[in-house]
Amino acid sequence: MVDAVFAHRIQFAFTVMFHYLFPILTMGLGFFIAILSSMHLATGDKRYATAARFWARIFAINFALGVVTGIPLEFEFGTNWSRFSAFGGGVFGQTLPLEGVYAFFLESGFLGLFLYGEGRVPRGVHWLAGLGVSLGSLLSGYFIVATDAWMQHPVGYVTDPSRAIRLKSFWAVLLNPYAGWQYAHTINGALLAAAFVIGGIGAFYLLSHRHQEFARVAVKMAVIAGAVLSLTQLFPTGDFDSRNVVKYQPTKLATMEGLFETEKGAPLAIIGMPDTQQGRLIDPVFVPEFLSFLAYGDFHATVNGLKAYPRELWPPVELTYYAYHIMVGLGTIFIAIMIVGVFLLWRRRLFECRWYLWILMLALPFPYIANEAGWVVAEVGRQPWLVYGLLKTADGTSANVAVGETVFTTLGFAGTYLMLGILFLFLVGRVIYQGPGGDVTEVPESVVAHPAA
């Protein structure tokens, strides 16, 4: 039978990774909808209202799935990780309910107002509701990232001989120095993914000669925003986020870079396969001394390799290493795609350049992969710790839950989520197929004429 700790980890990893597919777009798209609806308010141009309504329909489907798949995660703190909750609930739990209280209410409440309140509330209030949805989802993200940041870099607590740990400072936990750049990098990633979704769908319309006017606005907005966001994803957000890893989590740094030996002037591995048996990279391509520079701003700085730490404190090397390299590799490709897009826009060839539109359309899923891979680096790279340096993952599980139960319910989630995924693609596909302007919720004449039907 499977090891209990592994079963809990797989369950949480699966449910959180599936869930995260939806907040990426909620956080990212909400921002663009708020912009479109503000532009409509400012200019009175109907095209922006049509565009805002189209993206809001995709947002709504996405949001519904984000909500229903998010609830299990809060439960799992108690169901799967009860010893962790009992150990640190008073500290890390400070930020968790705030998400529910402030942000979640804001977004779920305002979403109802935004989607169904049009005409019932004054226009200004409707616009504010749209803004509230966006702010709510962004704020929601902060409280979640702050909770995770505490697991990466625990602060604001004191150790108590009788009761493990106690809260020392609420503000230290809320304003964890680890959280700032991690949050910026996360949100930037979500916005970038939304830019690719907007651009990809716009490209689809241009390629299939439909809704041209709408599509031009979408593709233009996507490449301009995308070019900026793909660059800020790397610097400053990515760079400063990894500096926190350098500072607080040396084993994660060594693992994600595949650095086994401690070196002065450590090289940056572009590609290569980690061999944990031999403790080396197979077939590597290096940029000499560059890792030292990235980590410490000095080409000759010493970077600790994995072998400087006891074997039992190594995170799973391959998974962390590959996830990191996939994220960084994709990020580089995103920069290239978006820069080419801006170049084509400048040369006024963007909307006719079919090969580029094909690339933009097909690139749509990849930011999702990059976002998920980034979280794999963050969470798998933290192992074997649940709370870095404080609590091992193996000591945080629910000891009173049988392995079989966890395996069974994981399979249950897999089936449920498969159906949800199919449903999501089907419904969003329909919205895209119908295009802006089409509205499925419109009641057909027959129903209005014959209410008894």
Binding site: I71, G90, G117, L167, L427
Partner: protein, 336 residues
């Protein structure tokens, strides 16, 4: 502070039961109450704009339990592992059903999600009641503060009784809500069902009160020590009486009555349980109480201030949304 947190959580869960209670109740009767697409859309639009905001009271209460009474959250959630996973799937089913039903204009598509919404609501109401019964009655919590919940343990006659009570009361509450929001045949049917469910609710209130007095010897302890708490059971009784009197066209009074009954029942339950959060059936010393399962005083204070400010805003906001969508449902092209 521990006591303040106890009553804050009790208040949160009571608010949840009053708010989400009406949409769970209306949902549980959806297939029977509302006939035809027109009526079903009226029912769904009565709960559509508010159900999500209502459910968040449960999520927020859960999150607050993590920070205030982490040991209770840990023991309760891990002990109820399988049951809670089922509740999660039902919550998913229900949320998806209500949101996706109107996405496609097809009879079979709607029929499927109508059934999903009804089944999800019905079973959630039942299971929440079962959980409440178990918490009141006690669980085999050992010296380490944990227990292992099996279906045979959780589904005992007492908890099934409280489950049915919950279903009846929320169903009654749901029909009373619909009496405020609907018109025509649906309104007439809601009024008729409301009368019948009043009877079921009244009967089950009496039965479960008797069962609680018989099974949980400490039930009356706090009522003796603090006679002021007797206001809670009296509120339940007053709600039932006023429910009986508001049978015909007194729709507002009917909704107020079922609200009073829910508030009365849950506050009575809280007054009965205090200071226990999860009583142990093995040894009273193993019970998780507001004292031995709480976070440190500073953590309790900090999280209380941080959350209470937000909760006031949330309550105001919730009032605003209910006011915006108040009165009878008007069907237009948008909505559910």
């Amino acid at each position: 502070m521990n006591i303040v947190w106890f009553w804050t959580l009790a208040l949160m869960l009571t608010t949840y039961a009053v708010l989400d209670g009406y949409d769970l109740g209306a949902g549980a009767l959806h297939l029977w109450l509302a006939r035809g697409n027109q009526e079903r859309r009226i029912l769904l639009n009565a709960v559509g704009p508010v159900w999500n905001g209502n459910e968040v009271w449960l999520i927020a209460a859960g999150g607050m339990m993590v920070v205030s009474f982490p040991n209770v959250y840990a023991a309760g959630f891990s002990g109820f592992y399988l049951a809670l996973m089922v509740v999660l799937w039902l919550l998913i089913l229900r949320g998806v059903s209500i949101e996706f039903r109107s996405q496609i204009d097809h009879e079979l598509w709607r029929a499927f999600w109508d059934a999903g919404f009804c089944l999800g609501s019905l079973l959630i109401a039942l299971l929440l009641g079962v959980a409440l019964g178990n918490v009141l009655h006690g669980l085999p919590i050992g010296p380490n503060g944990y227990f292992q919940g099996t279906f045979t343990l959780l589904l005992n006659p007492y908890s099934i009784l409280t489950g049915l009570l919950t279903l009846a009361v929320l169903g009654w509450h749901g029909t009373n809500y619909l009496r405020l929001k609907t018109y025509g045949d649906l309104l007439a049917r809601a009024r008729r069902w409301s009368q019948q469910l009043w009877g079921a609710a009244a009967l089950l209130v009496v039965a479960s009160t008797a069962a609680t007095l018989g099974l949980v010897p400490s039930t009356l302890r706090n009522f003796h020590a603090h006679p002021v708490t007797l206001v809670f059971p009296w509120l339940t009784l007053a709600g039932l009486v006023s429910g009986l009197l508001s049978r015909r066209e007194h729709d507002q009074a009917a909704f107020r009555s079922s609200t009073a009954v829910i508030v009365g029942l849950l506050t009575s339950a809280a007054a009965t349980a205090f200071p226990n959060l999860l009583p142990s059936t093995l040894n009273p010393a193993y019970s998780l109480t507001v004292y031995n399962a709480a976070s440190s005083p500073y953590a309790l204070r900090a999280s209380f201030i941080a959350n209470i400010v937000g909760m006031i805003g949330v309550a105001l906001y919730s009032a605003y949304v209910h006011r915006t969508f108040r009165g009878q449902v008007q069907l237009d092209g948008h909505g559910y």
